[in-house]
Each structure stands twice: as structure tokens, then as C-alpha cells.
Amino acid sequence: MTISRHALLGTALALSAVAAMPAARAGTAEDRGLAIAEEMARRDAGWGDSTVAVTMILGNREGETSTRALRIRSLEVVDADRGDKSLIVFDRPRDVGGTALLSHTHIHDADDQWLYLPALKRVKRVSSKNKSGPFVGSEFAFEDLLAHEVVKYGYKWLRDESCGEGARLRCFVVERYPKYEESGYTRHVVWIDVEEYRPLRIDYFDRKGARLKTMTLTDYRAYAPENAKTYWRAHLWDMENHQTGKTTRLAFGAYDFRTGLNDRAFTSSRLTRVR
């Protein structure tokens, strides 16, 4: 089923009046958590493809900062056994300009990754199960950016509470357990607003169960591509590492939906021609 898919960088959720609200109420805490996750995915389904430019700002304890710029193209895959596809192209720093990373996520197996290194003029398939390492030295792991496929996690609803800026919103607080072995985390705690099913905050817990990082998602804007559904996208993602004091902000530009990207744009043979 396609509803189990939450786009790469997919935090957008459908504002859908037809969404099955009772899902969020039934059964055990585990059922309730799963129902909330499924509802999130349902609301986000159908966006097709998107393109967005991102600025990444890294900071350390000494207050030093460093900036990177990249573009992310994503393709929603409507197939039960295959995940979404994404293409990340680096623009800055200049010495990695043109480097492109193509990922095909899979539900059951390790993801496929190809990297095009312009300085080497070659495409390399990267065989690694690791996606928990820091993404280009930032506080985001690749798995933090990846599609949150519903089936890749176990869930548990914890409570409802006030959340968001000035505690003006109401949130489900849901625990999420990665089912894949290579995760760097034992669990996430996600705050999801009850109205729009948007994640507002995610706490990440490391292998020893200590809180490692907190991501805060703000500056949500609604997009309505032609299918008359509304997709919410956060434009500021702030990650703080509680253990090292390092921070990373992802500042997203405006999303373009339905730009005519198709499967062919997400193949390794096309990587050398990506600009």
C-alpha cells in the first residue's frame, strides 16, 4: 500500500477533511501510535515529486559556523515494496560542487546509493548499510533526512500535550522505534500536532537510551499542487546535539512540486549529467 510512505524530507502532511480521525483514538497505546503514523502518511500521500534548495548551517561549541548549500529532488514511488527516490546535488562548498547523491530507499533491504564525484568524473555505487553517520559533517544523520516509511518503525502513543511556539498547539506525543539494525537510535519521540499531523519536534535517543539530539521544525508553509490537496512543509529544521553542543540548521527555500521529474531522472546513468 502506498499510504505507508512519508516522503524523503517528508514532513508535509495532507490537510484532509476526509482523513479518518478515529484512527488516532482506538485501541492500545501501540495501536494508537501506529494509527497516528498511518494518518500522517495518508495525509502526505500524493505529492508526486518536489525540488527544493537547502542551506545548511553548522555550528560548534566555539561558536564557529560553516555553511553548505544543496538541492534536493524527490520522487514519490507508488509501489508497496519500493521506497521513494531522492537526488541530492551539492552546490557549496565549491570544492564539492556538482557532487550528486542518488538514493533508492527500500522497505526490506539496504538502500541503494550512487555518488557522482565530478573531480573523479565517475559514478560510484556506495555499498554501506550505514545511514546513521553525520550527513556532510552536520548533526543530521542521513536517516534523519530519509523517508519515514511507516513499516520501518514500531510505535507507541505516549500522551497528548500542548506544543509548538508559545504552546499554542495541541500535540500527540508518539514514540517511534527503528526496526532496522543499522539505526544509530533506540527510539524517537515525536510531537505531532493534532490538527494538521505535522511533526513539530523530534527527540532522538541513542543506544544507551540517553537523549542525543532534538530537532525542532518551524516555519511551516502549505503547498497545494494541482491535486487540490494541501501539503505542509517545514522550512526551518533545527537540530541540536545535547551531548556535543553542536547545532545544525537546515533552511529550506520554496518547494516546487510536480516539476515533471520521473523515474528516468533518478537513475545512476543520469547522474553524470545532473546539474
Partner: protein, 777 residues
């Protein structure tokens, strides 16, 4: 004035006793606030340049403490499936240690290799299946040829392996390190059980901090009771009075309790240095009580009733006891001029204890004695003939004595430069500490127990990828690797060389640095993306990729060896690495290696100020400039002589040596004060000649000086039995300085007085009515 005070004291004796006990109770309750520190950084003041450099480096990369498990299987081969599996278990468990942020071992080393256009990055020893013989052979070959592993996580002979755990302590609670260490020990024990016969050693900065705690606790547990026993014996021997002994032990106990309680209220942390304070206080405090009681018993033996004896004792001892306490306090307070905070604590706590001991000796002790039953056997009031003989001998042979003592002092002083400065934090702990045993074991098997670090800046953002930077970085690493004592060098250039080879189909011809910036930057991007959680490069590259960190791990290096390496490295960088010309080495090893140098800078000022203040106090008390100047000789020589003797027998000084001159000065001066004040009294009151004044001084205070010095020597000698080298050295050096002071006061000072003070005294003698100096008192 004093007799009025004595009368007041007798009237309110019960009030004084009760109020003193209440006050000490209130102060001592602060002892529950005393905490251990468990952090080696506490030895460095906030302005310490090495500490600042290290903190800046840690803030740029990662702030890390570490625990290193060093594992040596009994059957002598780490590349065995069962052992590798056990190590995997340890690594998995270590990830769950509190505050662990990185765990590195052979198993999870990120092995990268090429297959056509595929790049694979995976654990060197994959989890799950047991590797077969072929796989083991390959793992062994990779590991023993990998510069990032050999000599760091595996010994070149394949017999010892290491698992390094990086922890980032929040530093919010004192319990963090002990809790962590308890779990670390449990893991080590479990491993030894899991794989019987394996020697598991645990080293690193976390165990180091815990070892400091243990040293402090050991001193408190063993030395303080030993001190009590010795002081009990001394008191019984000297006073031969049950009530006197009980009262003395109560006074020194109260002084120590008040001081340690005050330390708690002041938020002072227990370190091996501040834990030495009770021992020092006990030693110093007892002298005050002994002085007061000896005079009192002497009076009673002469027929005086108890109250009169107490009043007379107070009259005689009030000023000298006050003076000696002041000088001792000045000496210990001067420790605040040094850089190392634990020694500030030692100085301040001891100063509080000495002040308390003074107050209790002149208030609480007389009050207590007035209510305790005292029986004194009538003693014959014979003069100590030994002292009289000594006085006559010294006077008769004062010229040869002066020459001989000067010769000895000059010879010993000339030996001082033979002392080599050496602070190796491992060797602070003697062989009885498991930490020291583990460090020695690790040094003998895996190596790399000491180290130096450099942060080498590149030209701007992303500059570490410039071929020129990488070339120089690599040259520096190569150069370091060839230096004596260096066993392993970590540098990012090794990673880039490997990646370049991987990206060219593992062609050995490409086992070299990438030759353009874009290529290096893109390799790094690729590699970073392929690493698992906790094994990133952030501990080696800063966020802006504008600097990288080089770590040289060495065997156990002395301060001299480290300084030689540091200096040579700085010279190399100046000559070959323009961008890093001003970078100097940092890390715990250099921090401790330079701690003496850093501490002595402030202590020189502190010692001079203490000397000036103490000399001024002495001159003021004696109201005599010339005597004050003469007193400088017996006050300064003993420390010099002690260091001279040290140079002959030990010849290695460390942190302890930087504080000894100042603290021993405050103690040594006491004997001089007593001697000179009696000498002066004989001249002023009785118009005695220098010779007779010397005889008088010997007769009146000779025995007391000998006895109090013996107590001090015994007390500091007890400290010399500390398992913690800094304290042992402090005790031994101070004991030696006091012994030298006794020799100087008895043999040199009289000769000096006879040479320098004779003329004036004769004139003074003529002016005053000649009276017999025989009437002692």
C-alpha cells in the same frame, strides 16, 4: 594582660568548653558537603595556558574523555573467532555506557574497499556470523596493515587489542565519573569471565580521574589513623599524663574537624592534595598543645597549683604560639599564588586548621585542663644536661662549625640543579594502584599511553582538502612517526590516502594523497556519508573543514622527553608548515608535564611574599632588624639543603617540589623564633653575653625545639608513606627541610650569632646592669 585573660578563662571555662564544642560541631557539619572531584582537569587553574589550549581544541572538535580497554587473551592471539566475538560483545555493551559517544575497536573499524565501481564501507569484522579461517586471515592482514589500527587498537604482534570508548561528560554532577567507572569495571570483569584468562586493563582519562579520588581516599583512610597513633604515642611519651593526652588528642581532632568542615562549607573538593590537609593539620596542631601543657606540668611539678600553672603557661606561651601559628598560616596561604587549585585548597584548609589549633590551644585546652583531673609527679628540676653540653660544644667550636655548616649547605645547594623536573601523571600513583598496574601493562603490550595533540589550521573554509595542506600534514605525521617515543600518529591524511586507492579500484599505485582539492573534498564527503553513528570524522576535522587534528601517541614519556618532542615539533612546524607556525602541542600529557613549570611561576612570587611577611613578622616580634636579617639564614637554608639531599638520593622533582619552600618556611621559622626570642630575652632582661644568651636559649627551649621538630618530622614522615607520589614527596621533602632546620638552628645559628652579634651585645651588656642569666623562665 595575659593574667587577666587567664582569670577570665578560668571563670568562664564551662562556657568556653561548651561554646567551642558547639562551634566545631557547626563547622564540622560542613564535612558532609565535601565531594570528590574525579576530574584530572582540576589540577589546572582557569588561566593555565595548556588547559585553555586543550579546552579550545576540544570545543573545536569533540570534548572527550576516554576509557580504553586493553585486552590480551591468554592464548596470545586476538584474531580468533571466539575472541573477536567476545570483543564484539564488549563493543556493543560499551555503546550503552553512560555518556559514551564513540566506541572504536577492531570489529567496528570501518573497512573500505573497492570492487569495480562499487565502494564498500563496512565493519572490519561483521557482526553475526563467525568468520572462517580465510576471513580471519584477511581480517588479520587488513588490521595489521592499517595505520589507523596498528599500535592503537591492535598490537603489531596481534596479541593485544584495544577498545576505546570516548565519553562526553555533561559535567553537571560529581557522580557522573564514578557511576561510569563502576559500569566500566563491571564490563571489564564480565569480559574476563566471558573469555577466561584474558588480562583486561582499563586506562584513559576517566580511570585517571577515579585514581585521583582513590588516592585521596586512601590517604584519608590510612594516613590519618596512622597519624593519630603516632601522635598518641608522642603525647603519652612527652606528657606522661592521661588527661593531658586526652585533651591534646581532642584539640587536634577538633582542629582537623573544624578545618575539614569549613572546607565543606567553602565548597572545596577533595583531591589527593586537599586530603593531605588533615595529616598536616594534625602534625602542626599538636605542637601548640604540647607547648602549653609542658609548661603547665612543669609549673605543677615545681609546686604550683593547677590554676596558677595554667595562668603561667598562658603567659609564657601566648606570644610564641601565636607567632608560630601566624608564620605557618602565611606559609600555607602562599600556596594560593600557584596555578594548581588543589594546592590552593591544601593551603587554605591547613591555614584554617592551624588558626583553629591556635585558638583551641589557648582557650579550649586551658579551660578543659582546668576541669580535668591532673596529677603530676614531682620531678627533679634538673636542667637538661644534654642541651647544656651541646651549647658548650657549639660555643667552643663555633668557627669550625660555621665553616663546616656553610660547606655542607653550599655543597647541598650546589646539588639542587641536579634535580630533574618530571611530572608524569601515571607515576603519581605507585604500584599498589590498579590504575598504575593497568597503565604499565598497556604500555608494555599495546603502547600509546601518553600523547600530544595539535590542531593544524588550513587556509580558510574547506582548506584541509588543499593538496598543499595535506602534503604538509602528511609530512608532519611522517616526521612525528619517526621521533623517539612516538608509537602511533592519527591523521586525516591516512584516510584520504586509503580512499584515493579505493576509488581507483584499490590500485596500490594510487596509495597516495589526492592531487587536487575537489577530489579530496569529494572523497571526504563520500566517506563521511558512509560512516555509521559515532564513527564520524568530527573528532578529527572541525565543522568548517578548516583545521584538522593530529594525535601522536607515545610510550610513557618524562617531562624532559615530552618537552624535547614538543620543542622539536614546534620547530618542525615553524620551518615546514607556515599556517601552523604558532601551534603548540596540548593534551593531558603536556598539561601535566608542564604543571611544575606553570605552578612554580606563581609560587616563586608566593614564596618571596611569604618570606617577606614571615621575616617582617619575626622582626616585629623581636623588634630587632639585625636579628631578623640573621634569621633569614636558618630560615632559607633548610629548604635548599633538603633539595640538595633530594638531588643526591632521588634527583627527580615534580609538582610537590614547587610548594615545599613556602610551606616548610612557615614551619621552619618556628624554631628560629623560639630560639632567637630566648636569646634576646637573656640579653635584654639579663644583659647576658652572646655566649651566655646562647646557653640560656639552649637550656630553655632546646629540648622543646628538639621535641616539636621531632613531632613535625614524624608527622611529615607519615605522609611520605602515601601511595600518591605528590603527597609522599611533599611529606618527605618537608620532613627533610625540618630536620635540616634543627641542624641549622642548633649548629649554625649560634655560630652566626657569635660572629655577627657579639660586638653589639657586649656594648649592650655593659650598658645594662650585669645580672646572672641563670634564672631561667
Amino acid at each position: 594582660m595575659i593574667s587577666g585573660y587567664a582569670a577570665w578563662l578560668m571563670r568562664w571555662r564551662w562556657l568556653v568548653i561548651v561554646l567551642t564544642l558547639a562551634a566545631v560541631g557547626a563547622a564540622a557539619s560542613g564535612a558532609r558537603l565535601l565531594t570528590m572531584s574525579s576530574d584530572y582537569r582540576i589540577y589546572f587553574g582557569p588561566d593555565n595556558p595548556q588547559l585553555q589550549a586543550y579546552e579550545a581544541l576540544q570545543n573545536t572538535y569533540t570534548k572527550d574523555d576516554n576509557v580504553m580497554f586493553v585486552l590480551r587473551p591468554a592464548d596470545g592471539e586476538v584474531f580468533a573467532p571466539a575472541f573477536l566475538a567476545a570483543m564484539r560483545g564488549l563493543i556493543e555493551a560499551a555503546w550503552k555506557l553512560p555518556f559514551a559517544t564513540r566506541v572504536e575497536g577492531l570489529n567496528n573499524f570501518q573497512h573500505s574497499y573497492a570492487e569495480a565501481d562499487d565502494l564498500t564501507v563496512r565493519d572490519l569484522v561483521p557482526a553475526g556470523t563467525a568468520p572462517d579461517d580465510a576471513a580471519i586471515a584477511e581480517i588479520r592482514a587488513v588490521a595489521l596493515n592499517e595505520p589507523l589500527l596498528v599500535d592503537r587498537l591492535v598490537a603489531p604482534d596481534g596479541r593485544t587489542a584495544g577498545v576505546n570508548v570516548t565519553v562526553t561528560l555533561p559535567q553537571e554532577s560529581q557522580a557522573e565519573t564514578p557511576e561510569l567507572m563502576a559500569e566500566v569495571r563491571a564490563l571489564a570483569a564480565a569480559f574476563a569471565e566471558d573469555y577466561p584468562g584474558t588480562r583486561v586493563a582499563v586506562i584513559g582519562t576517566v580511570p585517571l580521574g577515579i585514581a585521583f579520588d582513590e588516592a585521596a581516599q586512601r590517604d584519608l583512610r590510612t594516613l590519618v589513623p596512622a597519624m593519630y597513633v603516632i601522635l598518641l604515642l608522642v603525647t603519652v611519651l612527652l606528657l606522661r599524663s592521661l588527661s593531658g593526652t586526652v585533651a591534646t588528642l581532642i584539640v587536634i581532632g577538633l582542629s582537623t574537624a573544624a578545618a575539614m568542615g569549613a572546607a565543606g562549607w567553602l565548597g572545596i573538593k577533595l583531591t589527593p592534595a586537599s586530603a593531605a590537609a588533615p595529616t598536616v593539620i594534625l602534625t602542626i596542631a599538636i605542637a601548640d598543645s604540647i607547648h602549653v601543657l609542658v609548661t603547665m606540668f612543669h609549673q605543677m611539678a615545681g609546686g604550683a597549683d593547677k590554676r596558677a600553672a595554667i595562668a603561667e603557661s598562658l603567659r609564657v606561651n601566648f606570644q610564641p604560639v601565636f607567632l608560630t601559628s601566624v608564620t605557618t598560616i602565611i606559609g600555607f596561604l602562599s600556596l594560593n599564588f600557584g596555578d594548581s587549585p588543589p594546592f590552593h585548597d591544601l593551603g587554605n584548609v591547613t591555614a584554617i586548621g592551624v588558626a583553629a589549633a591556635w585558638l583551641f590551644s589557648i582557650m579550649f585546652l586551658p579551660a578543659l585542663m582546668s576541669v580535668l583531673p591532673v596529677r603530676v609527679a614531682a620531678r627533679d628540676a634538673r636542667r637538661p644536661t644534654a642541651m647544656r653540653t651541646l651549647a658548650d660544644m657549639v660555643i667552643r667550636h663555633h668557627r669550625p662549625l660555621l665553616l663546616a655548616m656553610t660547606a655542607v649547605a653550599v655543597t647541598l645547594a650546589a646539588m639542587i640543579p641536579r634535580n630533574q623536573i618530571n611530572d608524569q601523571f601515571h607515576s603519581y600513583f605507585d604500584d599498589s594502584f590498579p590504575f598504575r598496574q593497568d597503565v604499565d601493562f598497556a604500555a608494555d603490550t599495546l603502547g600509546g599511553v601518553d600523547g600530544l595533540e595539535w590542531s593544524l589550521p588550513a587556509a580558510g573554509s574547506g582548506g584541509i582538502s588543499e593538496p598543499d595542506y595535506l602534503r604538509r600534514l602528511d609530512a608532519f605525521a611522517q616526521w612525528l612517526g619517526q621521533q623517539p617515543h612516538v608509537e602511533h600518529v592519527s591523521t586525516i591524511s591516512d584516510v584520504l590516502r586509503r580512499l584515493n586507492r579505493n576509488m581507483h579500484g584499490d590500485d596500490p599505485a594510487y596509495d597516495r594523497l589526492p592531487d587536487n582539492r575537489e577530489l579530496a573534498a569529494q572523497y571526504l564527503l563520500l566517506f563521511e556519508m558512509s560512516l555509521p553513528y559515532g564513527l564520524d570524522l568530527n573528532n578529527q576535522i572541525d565543522v568548517d573543514k578548516s583545521a584538522s587534528r593530529v594525535i601522536a601517541r607515545t610510550d610513557r614519556v618524562t617531562t624532559a622527553q615530552l618537552a624535547a618532542l614538543d620543542t622539536a615539533a614546534s620547530a618542525w612546524l615553524r620551518a615546514n608548515f607556515p599556517g601552523a607556525a604558532t601551534v603548540s602541542a596540548t593534551g593531558p600529557t603536556p598539561m601535566f608535564a608542564y604543571i611544575f613549570q606553570r605552578n612554580i611561576e606563581g609560587m616563586l612570587t608566593g614564596t618571596v611574599i611569604a618570606l617577606l611577611l614571615i621575616s617582617a613578622t619575626l622582626m616585629l616580634a623581636l623588634r630587632d632588624l639585625k636579628l631578623g636579617l640573621i634569621s633569614l639564614v636558618p630560615n632559607l637554608l633548610p629548604a635548599a639543603m633538603a633539595f640538595g639531599i633530594w638531588a643526591v638520593f632521588v634527583a627527580e622533582v615534580g609538582l610537590a617540589a614547587s610548594v615545599i619552600t613556602a610551606t616548610s618556611l612557615g614551619l621552619i621559622v618556628d624554631a628560629t623564633v623560639h630560639f632567637l626570642s630566648k636569646y634576646q630575652r637573656a640579653q635584654r632582661r639579663h644583659g647576658a653575653s652572646a655566649e651566655d644568651a646562647i646557653r640560656y636559649a639552649f637550656a630553655t627551649v632546646g629540648t622543646a625545639l628538639w621535641v616539636t621538630s621531632a613531632i613535625l618530622i614524624a608527622g611529615f614522615a607519615v605522609m611520605a608513606f602515601s601511595d600518591f607520589k605528590i603527597n609522599a614527596h611533599m611529606g618527605l621533602l618537608t620532613a627533610m627541610a625540618i630536620a635540616a632546620a634543627v641542624a641549622t638552628d642548633f649548629l649554625l645559628l649560634p655560630a652566626l650569632l657569635l660572629m655577627l652579634d657579639r660586638n653589639r651585645r657586649r656594648r649592650a651588656g655593659r650598658r645594662l646592669a650585669p645580672t646572672a642569666p641563670a634564672a631561667a623562665g
